[in-house]
Symmetry: D2
Subunit: 151 residues, 4 copies
């Protein structure tokens, strides 16, 4: 029962965003350039937050900035121009002064999923005026709780 | 005599900036992606202005923004990873509320120059606060005159 | 009658592709960087061709490359992070050894359309092996005719 | 004595490459976008290899590809438009089927060095034809030994 619940929670705090590989994203090796996966991570993160009802834009309008602290990617397979890929972003821990996102970039192939790249990043909450670290705003935590409550 | 002088003026208001093609600038065709030339134009423009004693950064610090109005590029030859190229930026007209820059991206080959891409762009002077068009600031015109005066 | 037909033809050879402005597409001015519009043009072109049944990828697989000859953009308004924009790509002339695409990047606002950027580009058909210019392949012309025939 | 030697070895296999932050590298936060540091890493890696006498281009011409396996970056401070930064790339282990590079992106300030970002990446040697992993080519190892021998 518990594992079933936990699974539901993780699914609730996970979001799949589909996108197409742009021509400009490839390099002379004929594959997606490594740096672009971090841009896909960013797209995924923004879409997960939108899905949770927390607009990245609103957050910035409220004077909260989220600079990156660290990030990591592991490259498992190449991806090619014009492919439809999915960036799956998940939130596995309650945020504090930091927030950690996990990512998988994958393709669907014959109903199977093939992971192309996986990674994570950690962001801080910063007050735009003071440029000091800041606890995760209450209204964001509320939004997260609402998503738990929906289960 | 006059053409000699004009030539000197144009040379004075022209600047060659050397750079190397990055791996990430290439695409799956194995050549520099077309959109990157506009980024090279930007580098050239900033370096010409630095050469004239007009720092782009200072200008932004003074509340002057220079949004692009229009731009054009003609692609004559491909460029490849790791090549050393030159972006030659020139200013052929005295700026008013707008300023026009001309560009050539070229390679040197056996003491000859091979033009890869040429183009231009037109920028406006905008007051950051009012977001309204603005005459080219006097201190920039002064800098341009100084460069003429050096001849 | 004729103008009605022409209008239908142009509509048939025009395609709207919706996309969202990525964070990384912005610059320190807080707006979409000028070079990115050429990347949006590329997305639009690829989607128009897909819509016409001409996959860019298939074309490359058949050994046809489409290098850019020239391109132009006029910037009318700024665009911002997270906005949903449309790139409208249209084909107004029958292609020969070259093909010209026209673009509008726009936002919908209260059922009105606001043009942010408009431009065009001209591409050549090149044989990958010989690297020589090439007439627009018959199967592409056939596809275009099919789209006319649908009217 | 040994530590002195080791220090010389590490210095020999380390290379500082100076570059200027481009306008397009910034985002709406007014700082260099996180994904660009991986592009700086790449520039640093290519320049270290050139310094060691191993051209990245030659390597690709010889049919050796070096896809990325994994990479990591830690962000310590923001960097701004027009700053002159240094990417310091170092090679601390003898390569096998993989090669690991360490990076620091830093600014010099009053003769002190301020680290902005540090990280690493691991690349594999792949045979272009077979697309299979490959030992680090002997001629590259020779080049590395030459650099040790110079001490």
């Amino acid at each position: 029962m518990l594992s079933f619940l936990l699974n539901k929670i993780i699914m609730a705090l996970s979001f799949d965003y589909k996108f197409r590989v742009r021509y400009v994203d490839t390099d002379k090796m004929g594959i997606v350039h490594n740096s672009n996966y971090f841009r896909y991570f960013e797209m995924g993160r923004i879409e997960l937050m939108r899905h949770l009802g927390v607009s990245y834009k609103t957050m910035e309008d409220k004077g909260i900035m989220m600079p990156l602290i660290e990030q990591y990617a592991k490259y498992l397979r190449p991806a090619y121009f014009d492919e439809e890929l999915i960036v799956r972003t998940s939130l596995e821990e309650i945020p504090s002064v930091k927030i950690k996102f996990d990512y998988k970039v994958l393709r669907k192939k014959d109903n199977e999923e093939e992971v192309i790249c996986q990674g994570y990043n950690i962001l801080a909450f910063i007050n735009e005026n003071t440029r000091r670290p800041h606890q995760c705003p209450e209204w964001i935590k509320e939004k997260l709780k609402e998503n738990f409550a929906d289960l």
